[in-house]
């Protein structure tokens, strides 16, 4: 790896200091004094690294993924070569930070030429990965298609004025996500640089995928906003990148109810309603978040069972098993799942409920020595005929969930217990402790528990989901 020292930064800084010092002697630092600026070099890899660059593979990345290839290039004598391993061997992923900050505010895009040994989609590629700033200005282009011919690619900068001292020049992550996904191939990148194309236009930022979201929540909870920036390129194509929250300016309609920091973290300060909107460089983002924190809830009762007698799925009182999803995307499901934080207590909030499921298949739970599932439920909605049922599924030895598509019940080697909370207990506005015996279909088969599903017609909060002896 070639690492050049930025002597000119030092010179600039020194000169800047001398100037500042001289100015200081005469009349103090005036408000117009400009800060020392950083080099504006936009070149990253032409035939070798330009301007001092590091190479940091991501944790778990295939160690030999990156090399400089002297035999392949789009222009000049060399290119960046990335060898993506076959499925199961890991992935290729790395960031290429500049050894010193650069001022990229005069550019409008990261561009490069690329080709691959076969047609493929690069999972994620972009710039702005910078450990020092927690990736404050990260940009991600997802699923970039790449062909066997050299082609020029453009990743636009969401708002270049933010990048006046950026280190994260380039990053990528690509791997076979399953046996059918492409792996065991090579792609090359050449002429990697920031450019001012002049043809990146028509910015259309968005938060929450452009949707006006409603969030019922509680005082003290937090949530995070994610956003995208879309541009129209000179070729006429639209391109959308994920833009880190710090590219956005966030606005709250009522800062006594909700505030947003530059990381896109919304903090609910009080009960009430507030609308969060955002913009990039003065362009209002499509989509918004309406926060309704008028829910009046308390924390669930703290579990008292000894940790060595439970297997916990979701609780702040225990160490939890790996959960794949708290809302398995069942076909036809309208259920929306969000997370609340009440003090230090994390809660699962299900709204617009018809049915959904919590899945834990990596690995499954062996509950052979357990006898019950415990859940704490808090019903939020005032429904005239409330109903709420749970079922617990063992997926059996064949390693997959087998579900009758008509009934939703188990087939093949799956077993299940169904449990309906008696309607008299379904009182809204208070915590209800539910204990479901692992009987019925699970009486003799509960060593591969994989799913807790529910169906009903009430909005409810869940906490302290654990199996116990």
């Amino acid at each position: 790896m070639k690492i050049k020292k930025h002597t000119y930064i030092k010179i600039t800084v020194t000169l800047g200091l001398i100037l500042v010092t001289l100015t200081g002697c005469e009349r103090g630092l005036s408000e117009e004094a400009e800060l020392a600026t950083f080099p504006t070099n936009g070149d990253i890899f032409i035939d070798s690294f330009v301007g001092g660059l590091d190479y940091f593979p991501f944790g778990g990345s295939f160690a030999e993924a990156f090399s400089v290839d002297q035999n392949e290039s789009f222009m000049g004598t060399a290119s960046m070569r990335f060898d993506i391993p076959v499925f199961g061997v890991g992935f290729g992923g790395a960031t290429f930070p500049s050894t010193g900050p650069r001022d990229l505010s005069g550019y409008d895009a990261l561009t490069f030429w690329a080709k691959a040994s076969r047609g493929a989609d690069i999972n994620e590629i972009g710039f702005g990965v910078n450990g020092d700033t927690n990736n404050q200005y990260q940009v991600t282009l997802q699923n970039m298609p790449i062909t066997t011919n050299w082609k020029k690619y453009t990743i636009p900068i969401p708002d270049a004025s933010k990048l006046n001292q950026e280190i994260g020049m380039f990053w990528y992550a690509e791997g076979a996500e399953n046996a059918a996904d492409e792996g065991g191939y090579t792609f090359w990148i050449d002429e990697l640089k920031f450019e001012r194309l002049g043809t990146i236009a028509q910015p259309r930022p968005a938060i929450f995928n452009g949707i006006d979201e409603m969030l019922q929540t509680v005082k003290g909870s937090t949530t995070t906003i994610t956003g995208t920036q879309t541009f129209n390129l000179g070729t006429g194509e639209d391109i959308m990148v994920i833009a880190a929250p710090s590219y956005f300016n966030f606005m709250s309609s009522d800062e006594s109810i909700a505030i947003v920091n530059e990381r896109g973290e919304v903090t609910i300060l009080d009960s009430g309603k507030a609308i969060i909107t955002a913009s990039i460089d003065g362009v209002l983002a499509k989509g918004s978040l309406t926060v309704d924190s008028s829910l009046n809830i308390s924390s669930a009762p703290t579990p008292t069972r000894a940790a060595n007698t439970v297997i916990s799925v979701y609780s702040n009182a225990y160490t939890n098993v790996n959960v794949d999803t708290f809302n398995g995307n069942f076909g036809g499901s309208t259920t929306q799942t969000t997370f609340l934080k009440l003090g230090n207590d994390d809660l699962i909030f299900n709204t617009n409920v018809n049915f959904a499921g919590i899945q834990f298949q990596n690995p499954t739970i062996d509950a052979s020595s357990m006898n019950f599932l415990h859940l704490d439920v808090f019903i939020v909605s005032d429904t005239s005929s409330p109903s709420l049922s749970f079922n617990i599924r063992d997926r059996g030895a064949n390693g997959e969930l087998n579900t009758n598509v008509n009934t939703g019940g188990p087939t093949e080697d799956d077993q299940q217990i169904d449990f309906t909370i008696p309607s008299a207990q379904l009182v809204s506005g208070q915590w209800i402790s539910v204990d479901i015996p692992l009987t019925g279909g699970l009486a003799t088969q509960k060593n591969n528990l994989a799913q807790i599903a529910f169906s009903g017609n009430v909005d409810f909060i869940l906490d302290n989901i654990y199996f116990y002896e």
Partner: protein, 285 residues
Amino acid sequence: MNKMMNAKTSNMNRIYTSKIWNYFILLVLLFYIGCNTSEEQTVATFSNLVMQDEFDVDGTLNSSLWTYDIGTGMNGWGNNELQYYTDRPENVTVQNGVLIITARQEDFNGAAYTSARIKTEDLFEQTYGRFEARIRVPFGQGMWPAFWLLGNNCNEPGFTWPQCGEIDIMEFRGQEPTIIHGSVHGPEYSAGNAITKSYQLPNDRFDTGFHVFGIEWAPDYVNYYVDDVLYNQITREDVTGEWVLDHPFYIIINLAVGGSFVGSPNSDTVFPQNMLVDYVRVYKK
């Protein structure tokens, strides 16, 4: 070490100074050459202003100069265009010194889009001259703004289009934001066989700012320019048929949606879309 570096730095400064001097001479030279080039490339010579609309009065268009085409024409105005043209303020208005033609996605009299097409037919017609407008075009797949001239005898027997002649000063495909097209149509050189040249804006695009689109039309040629760049000349020798550009033409400005030239809008096309016209000016020699 410090001293060495200082020595090097000052040495470098000297080299720089001499280099800068060289650059300066080069710049001066370039400047002179630049002047020569622009003298060679005379963009426009007709300077006798005979018609202008600066769109300085908000509201409806000046009715002594402009009229409207309404509806869907025959076969989508001959091009399978998808819009219904109206004269409603939703589709055509003057605001803040700018003519705004707006293409909307809305169900209207059986069409899926509305827009506007204005013309000077019977109100301002002229043979030869310099026709110029300052325009900002919309963008997106299926957008087709145009600034063009049509012969005033298209309705006369024996002169139906393309015999009556057409001069397209500016046509633009919304999906090609950096390129405009200038054409003439006549007998044996119409539609897909028109005499056309395209002009690509270097390091910029047409939908982000205003640009001047013009022609200078004389008995033997039509010159095409964008801003200060003369990019084409079409002469009698260039057309593959009879030269029919020798009688009065009128001005049309429209924003079509879809049609054979651009294809239909797609899910990425943003509506509404605006075509902005800062002014239209016509000169004689």
